[in-house]
């Protein structure tokens, strides 16, 4: 047997060109994870970090700006400590956002993959229902759900998933359909792998990068939808602090000089969305990009 040809070619050819994107990707991953970890930690340690009861009003300290003694981020119109409200708010916002996004993505991917591989009537059913839901106003669907299930964080999660799975499903369906006829899927089948195995090991992982991009968007969508639903009295009760509720409370103060009451929860939501995006980009396997250019 003659000798094997080259060493691992791309590495040998352009080590720098190959390393650079990976380091950059992993750097973003690390930064995103750090931000998310800090937020989760802050939410978990809220009772220790918050100097005040997030619900306690103080008529002698209303509308304080950030940097006031005893209130590092200031207070709102009712004299509630904004730092404490941000910390406690992170608990509900992150929990609802993460679980709603997770449910949305898992359900969407499962339905999309099923539509792509199952008999034609399943495909027709899933795509028709998705089209119908996309055509309906989200609030209408959420209202109906809340009316049936009653306002609670669980209802919020359900409502967000019920109104957000369609883009994920349609993208997953298109991706899986495109991948189905790819040589590596055929090769996997030629080795006798079962349909389930091919689906879970070969189709879904390769369909994930575009789904992951939508998933990151879904986290932001979930946090924002939570605030909308809470504002309508269908979500988290207004006395419980969440970033969405804080935004709702502060909307009237945007033009009165107390911009920070809006900026703080909005900034937290934006930072979360960016961090989730960085993580989803960084999580793509090295080589997935190269693979997808075939």
């Amino acid at each position: 047997m003659s000798r094997t040809t080259a060493p691992l070619a791309p590495r040998a050819a352009t080590p720098a060109a190959l390393l650079a994107p990976r380091v950059r990707g992993r750097g973003g991953l690390a930064a995103g994870l750090a931000v998310l970890a800090a937020m989760v930690l802050a939410a978990a340690l809220a009772p220790l970090l918050a100097g005040h009861d997030p619900l306690a009003t103080d008529t002698s300290a209303t509308g304080l700006p950030p940097g006031s003694p005893g209130h590092p981020l200031g207070t709102d119109q009712l004299g509630r400590d904004l730092l404490s409200r941000m910390l406690y708010g992170a608990r509900y916002s992150l929990l609802v956002g993460a679980s709603a996004a997770l449910l949305t993505v898992v359900a969407g991917t499962a339905l999309g993959a099923a539509a792509a591989l199952a008999p034609r009537w399943v495909d027709a059913l899933v795509t028709r229902v998705a089209d119908a839901l996309l055509a309906l106003p989200m609030i209408l669907v959420a209202l109906t759900l809340a009316a049936v299930a009653g306002p609670s964080p669980a209802t919020v999660v359900l409502a967000i998933a019920a109104t957000g799975w369609m883009p994920v499903a349609l993208i997953a369906r298109a991706e899986v359909r495109a991948l189905r006829e790819r040589p590596f899927v055929r090769a996997a089948r030629s080795l006798g792998h079962s349909r389930t195995r091919v689906l879970l090991r070969h189709l879904v992982p390769n369909a994930l990068p575009p789904v992951a991009a939508v998933a990151a968007f879904e986290v932001g969508h979930a946090i924002l939808t939570e605030s909308t639903l809470s504002f309508l009295g269908l979500g988290i009760p207004p006395n419980i602090p969440s970033w969405g509720n804080m935004l709702t409370d502060a909307r009237a103060l945007l033009l009165t000089g107390q911009w920070y009451t809006v900026a703080l929860p909005a900034g937290a939501i934006v930072a979360t969305i960016i961090a989730v995006n960085a993580v989803s980009t960084g999580l793509e396997r090295p080589g997935a990009g190269e693979g997808r250019t075939w």
Binding site: S2, T5, G192, R201, P205, E290, G291, W294
Partner: protein
């Protein structure tokens, strides 16, 4: 004459209402390498895919294909229930594809590919790694330990082709179908890969070499079957068919492949493998018996 490993009769494949393979008959025997040659689009790949039930969507097949496994059980590939067909894919019939790099899952390492294949057919967990590494070594790959952790995009074209081959061979198939596996390789690598393929016939296995390269067929196959317009135009010992073709299409094919286009000459066996190492050349001489 040894027993047939595969006996195909009257195979028909329709794609989108068009008949691409029309009544193909083919017999593959144990210990023999058969080259299926024909021009691009003559239905060679579809024939192979019809046998293992991996036709593209919208394609239909009919006919009979009697396959005999290692344990002597025979079955008609075209009427097997899906579960039994799945069990045959891998240990019964191995299939190596032309686009090697694209036939590896980009999100999975080389080692994971091999382990997954072994696991699917019930290989002992503790033996999977050793068997996988042996398959890589058997496909002529050096340093299989390092390749084990590599992702497909990290492989060169030749390495990817050998990995794909190792994957098709790791379950030690009775019949290995190699579909244009060497078309994209340089002559040296091509010769080495073909040697690996040829070695499959040593232990009573059978090899179906799909190629449009008559020189490859001449050097590495015992028998040649010429596919024209969905039928076998001519079949027989490689030497005979390529030296004195009887069917007009074979004559045309042979003439087109010959240097200078002289009529009736054997296609240049020194063509693609010219300059191959002595070991390869001697192997090749044996291969064209």
């Amino acid at each position: 004459m040894t027993a047939p490993v595969l006996d195909v009769s009257g195979l028909r494949v329709d794609v989108g209402g068009r008949r691409v393979v029309d009544g193909l008959d083919l017999v593959l025997r144990a210990g023999e390498a058969t080259a299926l040659v024909g021009r691009s689009g003559s239905g060679k790949s579809l024939t192979a895919r019809a046998l293992t039930g991996l036709l593209p969507e919208g394609a239909a097949r009919s006919g009979a294909a009697r396959f005999t496994s290692w344990d002597g059980t025979a079955a008609d590939l075209l009427s097997l229930p899906p579960g039994r067909m799945r069990a045959l894919r891998g240990p019964g019939i191995g299939h190596a594809f032309q686009e090697a790099q694209a036939s590896l899952n980009p999100t999975v390492t080389v080692g994971a590919h091999l382990k997954e294949a072994l696991k699917a057919h019930g290989a002992e967990r503790s033996r999977r790694r050793a068997r996988g590494l042996a398959a890589l070594r058997g496909a002529g790959l050096e340093d299989p330990e390092r390749l084990w952790r590599a992702y497909p995009f990290e492989l060169s074209g030749g390495q990817a082709q050998r990995v794909a081959l190792a994957l098709a061979c790791v379950l030690e198939p009775r019949l290995l179908i190699a579909d244009e596996v060497t078309s994209a390789l340089d002559p040296l690598t091509q010769a080495a890969v073909l040697d690996v393929l040829r070695a499959r016939t040593g232990a009573g296995g059978s090899l179906l070499l799909i190629t449009h390269d008559l020189a490859v067929a001449a050097r590495w196959a015992d028998r040649v079957a010429v596919l024209d317009r969905g039928r076998i135009a001519e079949a027989g010992p490689a030497d005979e068919v390529l030296r004195s073709p009887r069917h007009p299409f074979t004559r045309e094919l042979v003439r087109a492949a010959a240097p200078g286009g002289r009529d009736g000459t054997r296609p240049a066996p020194s063509g693609p493998a010219a300059g191959a190492p002595a070991a390869v050349a001697s192997r090749a001489a044996g291969g064209a018996r």
